[in-house]
Symmetry: C2
Subunit: 329 residues, 2 copies
């Protein structure tokens, strides 16, 4: 098969690779569309110790079952593969399973990803494509599930309804925009500010999201003001912005993985009783709920998704890297 | 009146001071006993910008009403003075009130503390001493309320009962021991490990608390093991121990204020969906609940409290500072 292979830092090669083998309990999917995630970009920059070249990246995938018990069905893949037996898996926290694997990752266990003609996936991870959802836009289910999970973690934590809540979203990429769309269109959040240093990105977000888009230095971002802050970037500086802008008793939801460590104002966390929650992926229930949200067009138009042919994948990564691509996905 | 005055870094002087003035809505209390808090020690080391010398420290106070509508009554003081009108105060989160003041603090507003013969306090902050509680041990109510609030924040956050929970307590001082006693005797917590570098302190804790007491390097403290970690110290290194030892999906309760900033493993917070909650003081309800716990002897013997005369206060601070005092309070 043809595949886009991550061969070295900032290097992707479109080349012939071996087809995935048929495995018991799994299916082979002919990939229709595959999205580029921030974590793929992180790998591309040589900064993800779970994704070591050579590797086929990509875990936001739609396609048609080629070989397997649902052969011929149009499907969306949940790329998070878990053991199904541990305490986490049996208590609806599959995303915390110690044995979890994601497609397009090779540490600790190799699973080739979706930037290829074919990919293998356990049958339990296959969801039928809702009739109202296009095959090309369907991979957005995966980051939407990430955003839904993050928003609902925050919602559960807040002592008041999201309707009466002031939310700050740091980062206008896919997760930032999707978190905003869920807050706005699904949760009816009262006030949303989205912050990004890239004006083009803010412009894109403003077309689809009812939120105030500002740059990081903006005076709109008051200190001690927001009930909830979503840091979809995860830099030391964005965490500083999060802790400065959160109000006493507020909730910071931390999604981004850009900078693994760094300083932080633990004094404010303590004196103002801030709740700081890391959030990763989604549960199986979140994934199903997301498909329902997308099938019912609850987050509105998905026209902000840009498409490229797989053979042009290297330039797509390059354009995201150099900022010339403003599309959130 | 005589008072122990914090006059300079590591300097306390027992001297004559003006008596507090009678103010409308407040009472004057003749102090019976006053406890030394970790935050008083922090001030003593010149590291608390809310407590600038000269100042009478101390906010863990019992006494008898000298002047006021309850004159003659034996009382315990809730030293956290709040506006009573804001969103926080009217929603049982008085401890987050923007106008909160604590006795023995002078920034932003001065309130002289309890290391004196007399102290002034709003009537709303006065609680009658339960008959079964001795006047000398009563000041323990304040740090016990801090510990109860912290434990119950964690309990609310955990997805399972504290009975089935493995807890790590970092720090064997008063808040560490009290958190342990509440976990063990009030909440019936399944497994408790308490860690402190001071063997004398661990020895004291082991007399009263059913927990495994270990030093920081101990192999007992496994990585990714504890459901909940209480950091009662708040150093960069104790936070590192907290994040290393917490299991996926676990809860870190951060109480200590020793080191305001420092690095942290935000990657684990995110990938393992850790909840990190700062906790400060207590609500009025927590304070009342604490008096009930103490009145009913639910946390057992309070023999671990050591007493000194006020005029010997300077040496008491000195002994805590140099580690020669092993009593948790």
């Amino acid at each position: 098969m043809q595949a886009l292979v991550y061969t070295n830092t900032q290097t992707l090669v479109y080349r012939e690779e071996k087809n995935p083998k048929v495995v018991n309990g799994e299916s082979i999917v002919r990939v229709a569309a595959s999205g580029i995630c921030g974590s793929d970009m992180h790998a591309y920059h040589g900064k993800d110790n779970r994704r070591i070249p050579p590797l086929i990246l990509g875990h936001e995938i739609s396609g048609t079952i080629d070989k397997g018990k649902f052969a011929g069905k149009k499907v969306i893949l949940n790329p998070l593969i878990t053991c199904g037996k541990c305490d986490y898996c049996t208590n609806e926290k599959e995303h915390l399973c110690n044995k979890r694997i994601i497609l397009g990752m090779n540490k600790p266990i190799e699973r080739q990803g979706g930037f290829a003609e074919y990919v293998s996936i356990p049958d339990n991870n296959i969801y039928e494509l809702p009739a109202s959802l296009g095959m090309k836009e369907a991979p957005i289910a995966e980051p939407t599930a990430v955003a839904l999970h993050a928003v609902e973690l925050g919602e559960k934590e807040l002592s008041k309804s999201l309707k009466n809540t002031k939310a700050l979203i740091i980062g206008g990429g896919a997760i930032g925009l999707l978190s905003g769309l869920i807050l706005s269109k699904v949760k009816d959040c009262g006030e949303i500010v989205i912050v990004d240093p890239n004006k083009k990105r803010l412009g894109e977000c403003s077309k689809y999201l009812n939120a105030q888009g500002v740059e990081p230095g903006s005076k709109i971002i008051l200190n001690d003001y927001f009930d909830i802050v979503f840091d979809t970037v995860g830099l030391e500086t964005t965490r500083h912005q999060a802790i400065n802008s959160i109000k006493p008793g507020g909730v910071i939801i931390h999604i981004g993985l850009t900078q693994p460590s760094g300083s932080f104002n633990f004094r404010k966390v303590t004196l103002q009783e801030i709740t700081f929650i890391g959030t990763y992926c989604y549960t199986n229930k979140d994934f199903e709920k997301t498909l329902n949200i997308l099938a019912n067009k609850k987050i509105g138009s998905l026209n902000w998704i840009e498409y490229k042919n797989l053979k042009d994948g290297a330039s797509a990564f390059q354009q995201i890297h150099d900022g010339s691509c403003s599309a959130p996905k």
